[in-house]
């Protein structure tokens, strides 16, 4: 047969279990990309028909209707189903995925899809959960009512998958009907029909166990709910910061070892330095965050898969509403404490575009893990290690204050943005709270692998390019004998120019020089300062300590405090800028983000410096 490969698409309401079904049907053979021009994820994979013929299966975003689309996701689903989506062939077969325990609701959208007259198969998904709730369904009756094959499936237990593949093959070979010409079916009429069909398909309905209702009694309890959420978040934070350390150290050591190996194996040359100092050190600086990102995403994916995420959004909605956001923004902002890159990526679940944009713009204000090395060095060098209260150290208090200033900054900025550049109707919060489910190991593993791959590929290539560029700027033109290389380089000249700008806020030329490579990633500021002060350090710990002594001799306390204030706000991270560009489809918003964050950093560092000087700390 020499026809085009057959394309099938999964359509259905959100929470119908489409993604689990998609994973079960395609296995790990998936391709994830964006639809052209929009930040809607296109998930496609290969599924095999009973005769061994491959079919491209597309997992369309969950949607509540074809005609009244309210989000970019729903619009993509509508266009694909109608055959209007650029870069996507119209699916030969549509697979409508229905949640068995929510037929009355899901059949409303199903009717809209069926009226298109395309070859269609219905997957009656999650029949096991419906049975757990005491609901037994008659798929034959439903099939008769809908006029298309209905296959009961349990994606996570791989039940009904072969039958579904066979039904897709049969539907593909059938002749497409003409669209059913039904003039102006109104929504209430559809709902009435959905109700009748759902009732007609029920074989028996007993008193429901409703495990999820009992769990919600505890987890959404006005008094018990929030402490449970905060306890869980505490565990997540601990895990991200402590579990990741051995792995991060291991990756760090591995990259150092590779660098050392290259240094001993290759003759000394500029090319070798580029490889070790530029490529290996630069890529290593990014990959070192992989353990934290994986641990964070493990918790996020688990919370999503179990259905708890929607409850967390519910519990936090009131607080977020105070600054013009909704509960949906809570998880992306939480993720940003580890790293703004996955945080910004996870804003895709926010339906309101203004809400989403605001969340992306304030995400870098959450104190990410890359700021810690910078804070640690400066605090250790300048803040005396003494207790202000029993059990409360001054150093810890300063660190905590830096986190709090970031959070307060984010809230104030959100308030201002929602009244200016991202002005719009006060964002509402309408969200289905899905049923609780046990996550499957396979779906979790697949999700983690995909996140890791996206992170390594996108952030890695970006950092790679930037580090190489910075290395070139620091090494060319070559210094005359006896002249300092940094001073002679292009970067050195830029630093001298920059020093004029940052002197009013208490920064010296060395800081200006450190700020340039720190554009790639904040923590690079530490090693840059170390290089500039030519400390003969052998390992990070020693480097940190000796650098501290050097700093104490060369910086005033006011300068050190201004430097800390700068890093609370400064958008010194190329990966964040790059991911913002990707998620907002252009340079407008990353440009805005750069401008406002640098502006805030400059103002706050300057204010800190001058207040400190006025207090006699200069």
């Amino acid at each position: 047969m020499s026809r085009q490969p057959c394309v099938a698409a999964l359509v259905g309401n959100p929470n119908a279990g489409k993604s689990a079904l998609f994973n079960a049907l395609t296995g790990a053979r998936q391709k994830i990309a964006n639809y052209p021009g929009v930040t809607v994820e296109r998930k496609a994979g290969r599924m095999l028909l009973p005769n061994g013929e491959p079919v491209e299966l597309v997992d369309l975003p969950g949607s509540y209707g074809l005609h009244a689309t309210t989000s970019p996701d729903e619009e993509v689903t509508r266009r694909v189903v109608m055959g209007e989506q650029h870069g996507q062939a119209q699916p030969d077969v549509l697979v409508i995925v229905l949640d068995s325990s929510n037929l009355e609701q899901h059949l409303v959208f199903a009717q809209e899809v069926l009226e298109l007259g395309r070859p269609t198969v219905v997957a009656l998904n999650m029949v096991d959960l419906a049975e757990r709730d005491g609901l037994v369904l008659d798929s034959a009756a439903l099939s008769a009512a809908l006029g298309v094959p209905v296959i009961p499936t349990v994606a996570v237990r791989r039940r009904g998958l072969d039958d579904l593949a066979a039904a897709v093959a049969a539907a593909r070979d059938a002749v497409a009907e003409q669209p059913v010409a039904r003039a102006h079916v109104t929504l209430p009429e559809r709902r009435m029909l959905a109700h009748e069909m759902a009732q007609g398909a029920i074989l028996s309905e007993t008193a429901r166990h409703r495990i999820h209702a009992r769990m919600d009694k505890v987890l959404l309890h006005p008094w018990a709910g929030p402490p449970i959420l905060f306890a869980l978040l505490f565990v997540v934070f601990q895990a991200v910061f402590s579990w990741a350390t051995p792995f991060a150290d291991g990756i760090d050591a591995a990259f150092s070892a590779i660098g050392d190996w290259v240094r001993t194996e290759l003759p000394a040359s500029l090319a070798r330095d580029l490889l070790t100092d530029g490529v290996i050190a630069g890529v290593g600086a990014v990959v070192v965050f992989l353990p934290q990102i994986l641990i964070l995403f493990f918790f996020i994916l688990t919370m999503e898969a179990t259905g708890y995420m929607a409850r967390a959004a519910f519990l936090m909605d009131r607080l977020m509403a105070g600054v013009g956001l909704s509960g949906r923004s809570f998880i992306p902002l939480l993720s940003s404490f580890a790293c703004a890159v996955p945080g910004i990526m996870s804003t895709r679940s926010i339906t309101d575009p203004k809400d989403r944009l605001t969340t992306i713009l304030i995400a870098p204000l959450m104190t990410c893990s890359a700021r810690l090395p910078v804070y640690a060095v400066i605090i250790a060098a300048f803040i005396p290690n003494r207790a202000v209260l029993p059990g409360v150290g001054l150093q810890g208090l300063v660190l905590f204050t830096l986190y709090v200033v970031g959070i307060i900054g984010a809230m104030v900025v959100a308030l201002i943005l929602r009244r200016s550049v991202t002005k719009g109707a006060a964002s509402g919060f309408i969200m289905e709270l899905p049923k609780y489910q046990l996550p499957t190991v396979k779906d979790l593993a697949l999700g983690l692998f995909q996140r890791a791959w996206v992170f390594l590929r996108r952030a890695g290539t970006m950092i790679f390019t930037v580090t190489v560029a910075l290395w070139l700027l620091l090494n060319f033109p070559r210094a005359e004998p006896g002249q300092d290389q940094v001073n002679a380089s292009i970067a050195g000249h830029i630093a001298n120019g920059l020093a004029v700008v940052v002197e009013p806020i208490g920064f010296n030329r060395d800081i200006a020089l450190a700020l340039i490579p720190a554009m790639a990633a904040r923590e690079v500021a530490v090693s840059s300062l170390a290089t500039t002060y030519a400390v003969g350090a052998t390992d990070d710990d020693q480097q940190g300590r000796q650098l501290g002594d050097q700093l104490k001799g060369r910086w005033s306390l006011a300068t050190a405090l201004a430097f800390l204030a700068w890093f609370v706000f400064a958008p010194q991270c190329m990966s964040t800028i790059a991911v913002t560009r990707r998620e907002t489809n252009g340079w407008k918003w990353p440009g805005f983000m750069l401008a406002y964050l640098f502006g805030l950093a400059y103002v706050f560092a300057g204010a800190t410096y001058w207040i400190a000087v006025a207090l006699g700390l200069g």
């Binding site: 009244a68 009131r318 509403a321 509402g428 309408i430 969200m431």
Partner: protein
């Protein structure tokens, strides 16, 4: 009585919705979720912080979170609990 005033756990039918009180996209989303005139709903949970916002309502076998501002646009009549919705 509007939906936000409904006591917890009492079934009610939405008698009327003042759609003008709602943003069009949100109105559409509520309708898509089946929250419309004639729907049988039950207030299941109230938010925890100041203002007792948001609300979680049960409609059919779904639980849907919405804000009090949305619920205020909906007039409800209580119905006696005869069978499971």
């Amino acid at each position: 009585m509007t939906l936000d005033q409904l006591p917890l756990g009492i079934s009610a039918r939405i008698a009327a919705v003042d759609w003008d009180m709602l943003v069009p996209e949100e109105a559409q989303r509520l309708r898509a979720l089946g929250i419309d005139e004639g729907a049988k709903v039950k207030l299941a949970y109230r938010g925890v912080f100041l203002g007792r916002d948001p609300l979680a309502i049960e409609i059919g076998r779904m639980t849907v979170a919405l804000r009090r501002a949305h619920a205020r646009a909906m007039t409800v009549d209580t119905v006696p609990e005869t069978q499971a919705a």
